[in-house]
Amino acid sequence: MSDDEIRQEYEVLDRSKKDVKAFGILYDKYFDRIFRFIYRQTDDEELTADLCSQTFLIALNNVGKYEFRGVPVSAWFYKIAGNEVNKYYRKRNSAKVFSLEEERFRELIAWENEDYDEERLNLLVEYMKDLPTDMIEVLQLRFFEGKEFNEIAFILEMTESGAKMRTYRALDRLRTKFSLKIKYDGKE
């Protein structure tokens, strides 16, 4: 997203401080993405719908408090959505669910020597379950939501270098344990 586009979106958000209809433009644009983002962390459509609606309600109620920080407005929605999901799991006191598309997963990883191996994939998933939640969150944002590091930093309330570090650490763990190649941005 270019700086101009980011600015334009911010202007729309600024307008919605006085005109609720203006917020509808952002709602229409991002509802789908935020819904998928939450669904990847709940695997439950009804729950996702509730949390998604709550996310946009919080955003609309707090439009006046939003400060421009050079990241797309969507990063703010992701941040609220992530907080709502975490609040839900804290209340339930249960393990967080990550429901990831297998197809995308296959696209991302490539075994170094062999072809796609179902058994090793299951082992990889089992191993990932024990990764710290914040590492999986970073991986999800980077590889499933396609977020830039500055956006990830904003969403997870950390520094950009911290977000990079956490991503590379998580990737290193997977690479060394499973001799994987992770493909993204057209590179390996």
């Binding site: 819904f35 609606s53 669910v97 990550f98 598309e101 990932m128 379950k129």
Partner: protein, 88 residues
């Protein structure tokens, strides 16, 4: 069991499925309701604070008022005692 549960799913979310939950007018209604509620809560909080301040002021004024009265009474009593002793 691990810290997290990771599921790999084959099913993709259909845009039509998501569209079922897309309802901006309902969101605006909820927003208006929460704004009204916020206004009511703010009004009550403000009234409560004002009441507490007024009560505190009244307590301080009455304390000062009775304190002054009591003191002036004591002074009068003293003055009376002095005049009595002088007459004797």
């Amino acid at each position: 069991m691990g810290k997290n549960e990771i599921k790999l799913r084959r099913r993709h979310l259909n845009p039509a499925d998501i569209l079922r939950y897309h309802d901006y007018p309902a969101l605006v209604k909820r927003h208006e309701r929460s704004r009204r509620l916020k206004r009511v809560v703010r009004f009550f909080t403000f009234s409560l604070i004002v009441t507490i301040i007024v009560l505190l002021l009244l307590m301080i004024i009455s304390y000062l008022w009775f304190g002054v009265k009591e003191k002036s009474g004591q002074i009068k009593e003293k003055q009376n005692a002095i005049t009595l002793s002088i007459r004797r």
